[in-house]
Every structure is written in C-alpha cells, then in structure tokens.
Symmetry: none
Subunit: 196 residues, 4 copies
Amino acid sequence: MAASPARRPHTGRNRNQATRQAILDASLDLLISGEAAMTMESLAAAAGVGKQTVYRWWPSKAAVLAEALSGRARDLVPAADTGTVLGDVTAFLAAMFRSANQPGVGRALRMIMAEAQTSPQAAQVLRAYTAGRRQALRTVLERGVDRGQLPPDADLDLIIDQAFGFVWYRLLVGHAPLSRRAATDLAKRLLPPCGA
Amino acid sequence: MAASPARRPHTGRNRNQATRQAILDASLDLLISGEAAMTMESLAAAAGVGKQTVYRWWPSKAAVLAEALSGRARDLVPAADTGTVLGDVTAFLAAMFRSANQPGVGRALRMIMAEAQTSPQAAQVLRAYTAGRRQALRTVLERGVDRGQLPPDADLDLIIDQAFGFVWYRLLVGHAPLSRRAATDLAKRLLPPCGA
Amino acid sequence: MAASPARRPHTGRNRNQATRQAILDASLDLLISGEAAMTMESLAAAAGVGKQTVYRWWPSKAAVLAEALSGRARDLVPAADTGTVLGDVTAFLAAMFRSANQPGVGRALRMIMAEAQTSPQAAQVLRAYTAGRRQALRTVLERGVDRGQLPPDADLDLIIDQAFGFVWYRLLVGHAPLSRRAATDLAKRLLPPCGA
Amino acid sequence: MAASPARRPHTGRNRNQATRQAILDASLDLLISGEAAMTMESLAAAAGVGKQTVYRWWPSKAAVLAEALSGRARDLVPAADTGTVLGDVTAFLAAMFRSANQPGVGRALRMIMAEAQTSPQAAQVLRAYTAGRRQALRTVLERGVDRGQLPPDADLDLIIDQAFGFVWYRLLVGHAPLSRRAATDLAKRLLPPCGA
DNA sequence: CGATAAGCGAGACGGTACGTCTCGTCTTTGA
DNA sequence: TCAAAGACGAGACGTACCGTCTCGCTTATCG
C-alpha cells in the first residue's frame, strides 16, 4: 500500500483547530447578541483572528454561518422513529421549530438566506444545507411509504417543500411564531388524506 | 365644524410624480437587466435623479423595491372567481407563480427579502407587502367557507402560510421551479380533506 | 430722443427692506455665535426667509458677508485727523484691530477670505472690499504727504500692503493677537525713516 | 535600560511609501493643472488610490496640501548667507515670492489658508507650516543681530509678521503681483532704521 | 376694477463631495 | 507554512449644501 495521494508530506505550521473553533464560536456570539450585522471584519476582530484566517477556512460569510449552525443543528435532528409517519414528522417539525427559535440559530439562518440572494457562493452553501435538510425529511417520509402509511405515489417533493417553506416563511417574515402547536397542526396537514 | 388640524396647507414646490415614476421604472429596469446589484447610486443615476430625491420619496432601498413591485403585482392577482375554492386557489397560485417567474419581479422579491433580514425598515416594508398578499388569499378562502366548500373551522392561517411559504422557499433557494403543474398540485394539497 | 433704456417702469410687489435687513442680521448672529459654518441654508432658515430671497439680494455668500460686515465697519473707521501721520495711522490701525477683534467681524472677514479662494464672485467682493479699505488708508497717508510729514516719493502701496498684510496674517493664522500695542508699534515701523 | 514602551513591535503590511508619494504627486498635479478644485475624490482617483488610503495617511485635505507643498518649499529656501541682513532678507523674500508665484504652490497655499478658516485640523496644519516659515526668517534676522547689523532690541516678531503678512495678503487678494522688485523694496522697509 | 408682474416662504430637484464602512486581496513579521 | 495585523483599491452608504426651479400666496402698478 503506497501512500501516493499525499505526495508532499506537509511542511509548515499546522492549521490550528482552536483558531477555527474560535471563529465559529465568535460568529454565534455575534449572531446571538445581535447588536449589529455580522461583518467579516467584526467576526475576525471578535475571534481575535486575522481576516485572512477566516477566508482561509471558509470561502464566504455564509459558509461560516452554515458551519456554525450545522454544528448546532446536528444533534437536534436525530429523526427519531416513533412508529408512525405522523409521529415522526411531528417530531421532526417540532425539533426544527425549536432549533429555529433559538436566537442564534434563527438569525444565522436568516443571514445565510439573505447572503444567498446576492452572493453565488452563499447560494451554493444554502443549497447544500437545504438539500441535506430535505434529505433528512425525505428519509422520514420514505420510511412511512415502506410502512404503508403513505401511498407509494405520494409527491414527497411537494410535501417537503411545503414543510420547509412554512418554516422559512415564518422565520424570514416574522409575522407568526413557530410554536409547538403549529408543528403539530402542520404535520397533520402535510400527510394524507391530503391531496388524495 | 372646526378645521383646526390642518394648519399650514402646504408651501413649496410640489413633489413631481413623474420623477417618482422615473425612479420606479429605473428600479425595475435595473432589476430585470440584472447586470449588477441595484444600488441607490446606480438607481439614482439610471433615473437621472439626485440621490437625495430617492431618499425623499422612500426611506430605504427595500421600500423602493416593494413599491416598484407591488405596482406590477397588483394587476396580476385579480383573485378571479371560478366557482370553486379549488379553482380559485389554483388560479391564485398560478398567477403568483407566473409573476414570480418574471425575472424582474422574482429578483425584486428576493432582494426585498434579503434586505429585510438586516434592515428594520425593509422588514417593515416586507411585512406590509406580505400582509397584503396574505389578505388577498384569505379573501379567496373565506369565499370558499361561505360557499360551504371549506369547513368553517379550517385553519386559514396555516393554509396561507403553507402556500406562500412554498413559493418563497422555491424562489429563494431556487432548487425547483415554480411550474404551472406545481401550482395545480399544491392547490389540491392545501385544501381539504387535508388535515381533517 | 426716446427714453429707451428704462422701458417698462415697474410692476409687482416691492422688495422688502425689512427682509433684507433680517438676512444681514441673521448672518451676523450666525457668525458671532460661531457654532457652525454659515451656510446659505442655515442663513435663510435663521432669517426666516426662502433661499431664493437671499439670492435675489446678493449673488453669493461672500456678498452677504461683505455687506453685513461693512455695515459694522463703516462707523468704526472715520479716519480721524490727529495732526500727524503717525497719529492718524496709529488711530487707523487701532480702529481696524479693534474691529477685527470683534468675534463676528473677525469671523466674517475670515470666511470671506476663505470663500474668495474658491469662488470668483467672492474674490470680486473681497477685492472691492479691500480696495475700499486700502483707499481709506491711502487718504490718510496722502494727507501726510501734503503736510510734508511723508516724502513725496514714498511707496504708499508698499506701506499699505504691509499694514493690511499684517492684520490679515494675524487674523487668518491666529498665532498672535491684534493688540493695541501691536497697532502702535506697527504704525511706527510703517512710516519713515523706514526704507529711506 | 527598560524596553517597556514599545511592546508589540508591529505586524501587518507596511505602509507603502510609493503610495504616499503618488498621492502627493497627484495633489500637486491637480493643483498645477488648476482645472478644478482639488477634492479628496479627484485626488484619490488621480493617484489611483482608494479614498480610505488618503485618509489613512493624512487627516484632512489641508494636511495633504501642506505636506505636498512643504516638500517643494524646503529646497527653495536655503536661507543663504550673503554677508548682510539686507542681502539675506532680500534673498529670503525673493525666494519666497518666486515660490509663491509658481501656480501649484500659490494655489496650494491659498487652499490651505481657506480650509484653515473652517477646519480646525487645517488650522493646525497651517499653524505648524507658518511657524516653520517664521522660524526660518527669524534665524536669518538673528544672524543679523549677532553681526550687529540689527539692534538687539529689534522686535523680530513684528518684522516677521510684516514680511509674511505682505506675501499672504498679495497672494490671497491678488490685487498686486509678488514681483522681484517688491521683494527688494520690502526688504529695505523691514529693516532699520525703521521704527527706530 | 381686474390683469399683470414681481416678491416672498417653502421646499423639491439634479448635482457634487463628504467621511465612513465593508469587501476581498495582498504583504509583513513573528511563531 | 500559518497566523495576527493591517494596508490597499474599490465602491456603496446616507448626509450636507449648492444654486435653480416651481408652488401658492401676497402686494403693488398699470390699463
């Protein structure tokens, strides 16, 4: 077994994971405090880090946010198995709502979305992030199809976009809360006999 | 009959509606051309207007966009009466999708949404705009309730947020098109027997 | 012989001298208070007057200042006759120094000078003003020549520019005061046997 | 020997002297061409530099001008030693007149003076500049005292302010030229037996 | 007596420049 | 080679004034 792919064994100082983490932490701090818009400059300053270091690790502000945020989000969405699709979807939505209600997470999501409307890189980050989330929900739904709790011809894409659309819409416009009750009601409305 | 409240009737040169319209037109032109982000400077230049004049009429970029856009949107959504809720909602969604698919309108909506995440004024503009649109859909749905085509206890807020959430989500993320077919399918999924 | 030049005798409302005076007064108030730079807008506002009215009476800011100021200066410089050139010049300088030391007058002079460096109209106003002042001093000096207290070939221009140069220099740079003592000493230095 | 005061030795990119010089050069170019008033924006553009960079090096327009100009002025006024005060002062004045007659230098001086009347920073710059010039002339005069060509009780401040006042007055008002002849005549009038 | 013509306060308008802010890149020094 | 610091070109931001141009009104003079 030749170690061909890693040609040059490595020289120079190693990247400092602590630095990386400091940036992620600082980004969440800034978002949670919410005193001012998070700029690359304020982020670097808050992390006690050079701007270049931020750019070395991530290509754009949105990428930082996406990572800071996915670190938080990961443990919150284990896609539990409650035995029924309705239960699973309700649990999924409830977890998602809870997460989005955390000030830092909600603000981060909103900033990523905002950035994505102007910056192509941010758009890509957003696409990747949302694709991952959609896949998670799709998995839950497909389990329901396997169990026979959902018809095999159900349009999962439509259901998924309705679910995430609802969350994002309330998050971005802020006209109504993402309450526990809303999660329950929404789950019911998403699943058959709808659109039968 | 006291006429006290209106003390000084008005002095000074009148605001020039043509100027105002020139700015709105220029903003749509810039959005549709989409060559670069619309800045207040490029907008003023394109309209052949001083920057101050733009700020005299609108407090923020988002406010200009919202107005430019609602001017367009108004005639597109006449909330036609087709006899059935399903028909009405389908028509409503189809019109909305068509409008959002126009390059200028879609881009304007996305920029307003982006601005609203950082600027409080933009957020207010967005709230006003979305409230108007929600009311339009609510009117359509209430007509359905009156006709007995929708149960009187239907949670209209949920339906409405699902509908607009879907549109905005696809518009902002761009992972899937707002096709005619999607409008039809979505309409079916929004109305009972869903969530019964 | 028709009286062609004055064709139409005049119609319309008469110019209001009170308005004119209000502007001059306001300009001095602004200068004396010295809180901020005197702009045409602040001047009009302080005088309770439309901007156009100021421009109707004077072509430029400097013209207003020059007039506001010459109104003040007039009575201060009667070019008294003390019997000797030295006495006359000393009195002239002392009066000039005293006038320039008044906060409003000094500031007005400085602003006119500043304006004159960029605006041609202001330059013209300044030229007219300074020419008048130079003429006043020249009259005093010529009286000295007539009396035989100054040689007939004395270079009055040089003396005059030295005198006014001294005042303006100290006024504009502000490194040394225009004291009573300085007036006396300067007067002595300006007159023969200097440069004999 | 404590090395305490200079803690952090310096990090970050060094200031680029070439950039600095480009700005100074551009400022003189703009002044000499004299097509329009020198603005910070035109200056930055002419130097091929961001506006911020100009502000990084100098706090105000006047500061740039003062520096651009003192760079020029330095070599022009070597305070030559001709053996007599009269000769030295004549040379000093002649050099000063010659310098002020250069279009760029004269314009720069006038603009600094104008700026100094409104901007405190510019005033400070002007004070520093004029103080340096006064010191130069004072040195010449003191040499005269040492040589016994000037009485030890001569009021040098008065002589100095007369000299510079004359120059500035003619420069700012522009009613008479700063000719070679004027330099000679002025020098004679500045020195004893004047004010004896 | 109108009709006509200013004068006037107010303020909109097209401009220009201001000084600040952020972006993403580049360069220096020390670790 | 990495990292902190920060200079740099670029350009948008929102504000301040400029001088001109209407507005709706008031006040004078003339036919």
